[in-house]
Assembly symmetry: C2
């Protein structure tokens, strides 16, 4: 799933190049590329499907030259994860109906890829042999309010799987603290595994409108007509998340938990936590000369020098056509900024 | 005098283009051009001499196309104002020995050019008819610590001129307050008027070493040999200001005071005072979207957007290869910044 149009990393991410197509961590690889390489050791390249906005199809192909054009599922517009997953499932029904699907966001950070692979392979084995919707959970390390939580239930034999008691949307700070202490809540990583036939049956039951829309184009999947059919039906679909549409309602949901160093890197503040820093807590790797400046995320274009004084816990992000300087704490403000920019300055800088 | 190599307006001013060659006020004219146009209504173009660093000779000619190449006196290196003035005086002795000189910095702001012209014309008439070193004083409007002061003495008839009791270098805050209250101290604008013969006689008496160096090249002034002669003798001259070398020691010094809205615009902070501002006290004219941001000087490249939050009384100055964000109050810090940049990053950004 590489469909996000994210401006949460404005001014670096733009509608023309959202986060998943950027190297936000300075590793030399974009999130999309890192995601591909995380699975490529145990998934053949021809088995990948990338769902992304039609405007970013070429970007995806450039960053994943191992894939062919028909492996990029182009969305004419964003309709959230349930629609994205329905599209991929219908394609697979036409081309590989017995496939077990591994559904993953293309813009997350995973630090321990070895542990991650073990968890995914076990979960895939379970999903492949059970009538199950499997989600990957992450043991929380702090009372994060920006993530969804899953309350785990009984273990399923020795499979490492647990039943799911309930899904909880982003909690407030107090509730998040309670979840952390209780020990049976895990973060919802947004990574799912199931057989193609299982998710299609659940979509038919729980999202009948969307299911029928996709069903109506059955003859087109995997043919040259697919793109026109998708362009026609996609706008009719409801924009709704797979969690809300399916996972919270289905009764065959299981969770496999792991500790593989996961973050959705959803804000500049969360990115800061994962970047290397100097002794003053300022992110390293930029040409910067700092005075009385601590705890700052500094991101400059290659070769450009920043001289900073008197800034504590700020974000300083510079690009050729836009500069952002704001306190690191106010993570939700980026949306306010974007709205204000659109209002005062139009779409040019977005 | 357009010889400054100023980096006080870094990162906008650079050694390759110091302040006098920049439009710091956003008027559409550089300081050098504004200075020329201030005098051009009553001084013929062929009577101007511009003393500047050899590296900036072409810049000066581009900005003052009314002048010819021989009107640009190129210094091989900076040797402060006394040496600069000596050079111009020796050139004039060869080409216009009876001239009254008006010596002016090329990087100051003067708001009321009408009053300024009256003051200069009266002072020029006095200097032209007296054995006098005349300086232009400005009635102080605040207890500035960044300027030199002149204590005025007895008036000279009805000429508007006063004798000078003493020159005072940049005072501390307490002393500046006393000066302001006393009423007989004025700011030293650095603008001087005298006959060529008078300043040469004073230089001979008070700076004999420098005088003899220039004297030794007497045959060269105004000829094709001048440039070689200057290249040879200039490095031998002491770098010393005309105030310290001559004005403070001579006994024929007079001051003409005026109120023509003068500033030497020596720092980003003083520039801020003269720029148009929005309701929040942020300088206007940039593409900026601000939140909880007040009293800031914001300067961005054309077409570039700044989004700023949580900054109070900051300087935010962006250029293609360097960004400065620092508190507006700490005006002396720019020098520290420059030193640190040279130390850590070399000369590339200076």
């Amino acid at each position: 799933m590489a469909g996000g149009g994210g401006t949460r990393f404005w001014p670096v991410s733009r509608t023309s190049r959202p986060k998943q197509f950027l190297d936000m961590l300075g590793t030399g690889k974009t999130f999309l590329r890192s995601t591909f390489e995380r699975f490529a050791p145990f998934i053949p390249a021809e088995n990948f499907l990338v769902v992304t906005n039609a405007a970013h199809k070429q970007l995806a192909l450039e960053q994943l030259p191992e894939l062919t054009e028909r492996q990029i599922l182009a969305e004419p517009l964003g309709r959230n994860t349930a629609t994205c997953i329905a599209y991929a499932a219908f394609r697979l029904q036409a081309t590989a109906p017995d496939a077990t699907m591994i559904v993953t966001p293309a813009d997350h950070l995973i630090l321990n890829e070895h542990v991650f692979r073990e968890v995914v392979e076990e979960a895939a084995e379970f999903a492949g042999s059970h009538d199950a919707l499997v989600t990957i959970g992450v043991h929380p390390t702090r009372p994060a309010t920006g993530y969804g939580y899953i309350q785990t239930g009984k273990p399923v034999g020795n499979s490492g799987m647990h039943q799911v008691r309930t899904f909880v949307e982003k909690p407030n700070a107090e509730m998040a603290q309670t979840f952390l202490q209780s020990g049976d809540f895990v973060w919802n990583s947004g990574i799912f595994l199931w057989q193609t036939g299982v998710i299609l049956r659940e979509l038919e039951k729980l999202m009948p409108d969307t299911y029928q829309l996709f069903r109506s184009a059955d003859a087109a999947y995997g043919t040259p007509e697919e793109s026109d059919a998708i362009a026609r039906l996609y706008p009719e679909c409801r924009g709704i998340s797979i969690d809300y549409a399916v996972m919270e309602k289905a009764d065959n949901v299981y969770v496999r938990c792991g500790d593989f160093g996961w973050s959705d890197i959803g804000t500049w503040g969360s990115l800061y936590d994962y970047l290397p820093k100097d002794d003053a807590g300022n992110t390293a790797g930029c040409e910067a000369v700092t005075f009385d400046t601590t705890g700052c995320l500094i991101r400059m274009p290659e070769g450009k020098l920043a001289v900073l004084e008197g800034l504590s816990d700020f974000i300083i992000v510079d690009t050729p056509d836009a500069l952002l300087v704001c306190p690191k704490g106010n993570e939700q403000n980026i949306k306010r900024f974007i709205d204000a920019i659109k209002f005062h300055k139009g779409e040019r800088h977005i």
